[in-house]
């Protein structure tokens, strides 16, 4: 054996010790790059107006145009890139992003699980991707069948009799659900003015209720992180239309009094809206229909693993109870005598006994997301989906158990698929939740959700998901324990404030961004300036 620092190819496996007088990390690079971290300008910095990366047939000069006096004469200013330049630009930019495929992404309430590539392949099948939404029904029978099949899965998994498929994301689903509730109540001649929202709710809940014309009032949480049933009951009355509840809630806890909650609401003539963002904890195990829920959106991009894509697209189908089933948006799918069709017209829906409340968007929903979700569900099956929720909940509880003596868990007892910590363990360390999160970045992790929910101080909401191996969870937990100890040691406060240091950019000045908004590049200036 030669030296232990050589492998069999003779390459060094350990770096030379740097000479004492050279600080390698602070060496000024000629390019500004640092190895694989390559600086990349804007397309406006290096694109050119007369370059294009797309070749076309030669236009036919004999055709007389019919643009009237609308022809564009001004220059748009759009830079073009040849294909090699474009590919390099976007690959370099992609390398500045953390992703699920890069590492553990424990962003609470966002369900950052693995996105199976089969789903991508299926969504790109010619017979789904190249279909126009306004084709004659007889030419899209397979597409309508797919949507109907997915609708059936969703109804069975939630134990609800109806589902509206067109909402385009979770918040859009909330709007759909509240519109249905409002239509139902108005149909009863019982227009009500107030929607109650749990104080641990996502911001979309109160925003949606306001969009739907309701006054919003918060219902407090108890000290065990759940809805204060007594406070809720005390507030119920003839003016309350609905209560919006997330279950499992954003503290990562199951609302164990949910049946009492729904009964109290129904008795008072109100309805229960459930935010289904956390459905991943109970899919294949518990049906919201058995809990008295009247409407619940399902984020297909969370539980059913369509990629988050850096902020969408999502899809937010809404399952509806018997009471709300007639109050659906248009269009919806009808399956009759072996033929599928879309009901697009109010009169047709009314003839069938429906009471549609209108249209939520053009066309009929996020087909590309439907294909991916159905592919995901079919792959797992009922047994696989149950294993999904079992493993998601087990993983979160494992994280909770191993961190119990190191970080401060906000609430006692088993959690669901995510576990909530607060900043008590950082008390007197000079390290904040934000500092702790940023230090995780330097260790190769995406931080957990921070400062949400609002019901605890300096919240840290960890959702590991079911697609992490035990080794991966252990390494993550060991890292958090080590960071915790470092924070408590009292010697690393400044290092926490400086973190992250290993990233393409260090902490960004968000105050300046908001105070002097520069929202676009402008030509003829050395650096971009604010418009106007």
């Amino acid at each position: 054996m030669t030296g232990s620092t050589m492998n069999r190819q003779g390459r060094q496996t350990q770096p030379h010790a740097a000479p004492a007088n050279v600080n390698v990390t602070q060496t000024e690079m000629i390019t500004g790059n640092r190895g694989l971290q390559i600086e990349e300008g804007l397309i406006f910095d290096h694109g050119k107006l007369d370059v294009t990366g797309v070749d076309f047939a030669v236009p036919d000069d004999t055709v007389e145009h019919r643009l009237g006096n609308f022809a564009r004469t001004s220059v748009i200013g759009l830079p073009g890139l040849s294909e090699p330049e474009a590919v390099r630009h976007y690959v370099r930019l992609s390398q500045k992003n953390f992703s699920i495929d890069t590492g553990l992404y424990p962003l609470g309430s966002c369900t950052m699980k693995h996105n199976p590539r089969l789903n991508e392949k299926m969504a790109r099948l010619d017979g789904f991707m190249n279909l126009h939404p306004m084709q004659p029904h007889k030419t899209v029978q397979g597409a309508l069948e797919l949507i109907d099949t997915l609708a059936d899965w969703l109804k069975v998994l939630t134990g609800m009799p109806a589902v509206a498929m067109s909402p385009k994301a979770g918040a859009h689903g909330e709007l759909c659900g509240l519109m249905a509730i409002r239509a139902c109540l108005e149909d009863r001649g019982d227009a009500r003015k107030v929607v109650l929202v749990s104080d641990s709710a996502h911001g979309t809940n109160p925003a949606t209720a306001a969009t739907c014309g309701y006054a919003v009032e918060a219902i407090p949480s108890t000290r065990d992180g759940r809805v204060d049933l007594a406070a809720l009951k005390a507030r119920l009355g003839p003016d309350v239309a609905a209560f919006m509840l997330t279950n499992p809630n954003t503290c990562g806890l199951f609302e164990r009094e949910i049946i009492e909650i729904s009964e109290a609401l129904h008795e008072a003539g109100a309805l229960l809206y459930c935010d289904g963002a956390n459905f991943n904890a109970i899919v294949g195990r518990v049906r919201p229909g058995d809990l008295g829920v009247d409407a619940m959106h399902i984020n297909l991009h969370k539980t059913f693993s369509t990629p988050h894509g850096g902020g969408g697209p999502g899809a937010g189908p809404v399952v509806l109870s018997e009471a709300l089933a007639p109050y659906v948006p248009l269009p919806y799918i009808k399956h009759e005598l072996g033929e599928y069709s879309l009901v697009e017209i109010e009169e047709e829906a009314v003839e069938e006994g429906g009471k549609p409340f209108g249209r939520l968007s053009a066309f009929h929903g996020q087909m590309g997301m439907f294909v991916r979700s159905l592919s995901y569900m079919m792959s797992h099956g009922s047994d696989g989906l149950r294993q999904v929720s079992d493993d998601a909940v087990l993983s979160a509880n494992y994280v909770a158990a191993r961190l119990k003596d190191h970080m401060s868990q906000s609430f006692e007892g088993p959690c669901m698929h995510e576990v909530l910590f607060d900043d008590r363990f950082l008390k007197d360390t000079g390290v904040s939740t934000l500092d702790f999160a940023k230090a995780m970045i330097d260790e190769g992790y995406h931080p957990m959700t921070v400062y949400f929910p609002l019901v605890v101080s300096g919240a840290m909401l960890i959702e590991p998901t079911e697609t992490e191996s035990k080794e991966s969870l252990d390494q993550f937990i060991d890292t958090l324990i080590a960071l915790t100890e470092r924070a408590k040691s009292g010697t690393a406060e400044e290092a926490f404030h400086q973190a992250p240091t290993m990233t393409p950019r260090r902490r960004l000045d968000e105050t300046q961004a908001a105070r002097n908004p520069v929202l676009r590049w402008l030509p003829d200036t050395p650096t971009a300036q604010a418009a106007e």
Binding site: R66, D126, H132, H308, A362, M378, D391, W521
Partner: protein, 448 residues
């Protein structure tokens, strides 16, 4: 189960660490009445091969664009997407990342959004744009709300040029507000008098160009009148490629431009996911809905990007937010931006010319058929024709001959009598001379 890495020994060890005997002990908070559910009606897990077979079977039941002559538009358009676009959006770091809440490790997505916002602002002729909406129709509904916030007025006029799905989306979104919507009858020939509909109480007028019938609409007078009366002009564009050939809404005086961006980078996908574009003037930016990316510097003074102006948004403002939107269309916006970067000024203009010429050639050929009349004299890549017989029957007969010839006006305006003979036809760079000939030949046969 191929997507689940935990093994049974792992699970046992983890249960032990948690201190419970079984997984059921972690679900003790679930009420007894809701436990023990069986899902026996659903299939069990399936292999990739099996899933692929079943879904391919469904896909094969559809008649896809490109398998035969195809001329359907009406808000979604069939275009060629360069191969590199779909490759790049499948980069793991774009595909499987979340909303860029941690900017230090999201500079890729954030820079893309900054570039996207700039491209959208340039194309629409506006000063600023947001980081995308769900689609064009929901963007239009948000624009109406924004105009009412800015003007503190409640009367909004929806022009007869507007796609009925957009109109209905706006109507549904305004069902429970104090707004007063004025719905104009459909305007096939672009003859409505927009100016006369604007008064001192009007918050905004919403006009679409090219109209749902394909006609190009003059906005300049409406813009002037709107501004004289203190109202805003909201312009809807459902075919964004048109802006490579026609004057931008910004040049014609628009205050808010909303558009469907599907035509660039995104497939037809049977209606979604698409990407809503939202652009406006700088002075209105704090009333804008949705996420916005802005430039700033990092601790070392280097240029970088963050999500900004978030005090407008639901996660900060809750019920006082400008919109309830959270997830938008990030990946579709990326596809849009990559396609437009590849095209550049030169490519976009050429693409637009090819689209226009494809449509002009088709319109000319169709109008040579006896009793077929062009209804929209000026258009981009879509136009309306009057047929001598019911368009529904003709469209079905053409579909039987494998020609998807367009959208009958009666499907979009079922409430309007007397619209039965009209057909809305789109042609793009995808259509060949053979496609156009096949359409003309089939239509002649059907009319015979």
């Amino acid at each position: 189960m191929r997507y689940l890495p935990l093994t049974d020994p792992d699970r046992s060890a983890m249960l032990q660490a948690v201190g419970v005997a079984s997984i059921d002990d972690l679900f003790v908070d679930v009420p007894q009445a809701a436990r023990g559910v069986k899902f026996d009606d659903l299939p069990r897990f399936a292999s990739e091969l099996s899933v692929e077979r079943q879904l391919t079977h469904m896909a094969n039941k559809n008649m896809r664009a490109g398998s035969s002559p195809f001329f359907i538009g009406a808000g979604a358009y069939w275009h060629h997407v360069p191969a590199s676009v779909d490759h790049l959006i499948q980069r793991s770091e774009f595909l499987t990342s979340y909303t860029p809440y941690q900017p230090e490790i999201s500079q890729g997505t954030l820079q893309v959004l900054f570039e996207f916002q700039t491209q959208v602002a340039m194309l629409t002729g506006m000063e600023v744009a947001n980081a995308s909406m769900y689609d064009g129709s929901t963007a239009a509904a948000e624009a109406v709300k924004m105009a009412m916030r800015i003007t503190r007025r409640s009367r909004v006029v929806l022009s007869g040029s507007l796609h009925p799905h957009y109109r209905d989306t706006i109507v549904t979104n305004e069902a429970h507000t104090d707004s007063e919507l004025e719905l104009c009858p459909h305007d096939m020939r672009g003859s409505e008098d927009l100016c006369s509909m604007i008064d001192d109480k009007t918050a905004a007028i919403v006009v679409q160009t090219p109209s749902v019938f394909g006609g190009l609409i003059d906005l300049e007078k409406a813009a002037r009148t709107a501004h004289e009366k203190g109202a805003l002009l909201i312009v809807v564009v459902t075919e964004i490629v048109s802006l490579g050939a026609v004057r931008s809404p910004g040049e014609m005086g628009a205050d808010i431009v909303v558009a469907e961006g599907q035509s660039l980078g995104n497939g037809l996908n049977f209606g979604g996911p698409y990407v809503g574009l939202f652009a406006t003037r700088q002075k209105y930016v704090r009333q804008m809905p949705g996420r916005v990316c802005g430039e700033t510097v990092d601790a070392d003074g280097k240029r970088g990007y963050v999500l900004t102006l978030s005090t407008r948004e639901q996660h900060i403002r809750r019920e006082k937010a400008t919109s309830n939107i959270c997830t938008n269309s990030g990946l579709c916006a990326l596809a849009f931006s990559i396609h437009l970067s590849l095209l550049g000024e030169k490519g976009l203009r050429k693409l637009a010319i090819l689209n226009h010429q494809s449509a002009v050639k088709l319109a000319n050929a169709l109008c040579e058929i006896d009793q077929v009349e062009l209804v929209t004299p000026n258009f981009f890549n879509e136009f309306t024709i009057a047929l001598p017989k019911n368009a529904h029957r003709i469209a079905n007969a053409l579909a039987d001959r494998d020609v998807l010839c367009g959208v009958r006006a009666s499907r979009l305006f079922p409430e309007c009598p007397g619209i039965g003979r009209y057909l809305i036809v789109a042609a793009t760079e995808m259509n060949t001379d053979e496609d156009r000939d096949a359409f003309v030949r089939a239509l002649k046969e059907v009319l015979r």
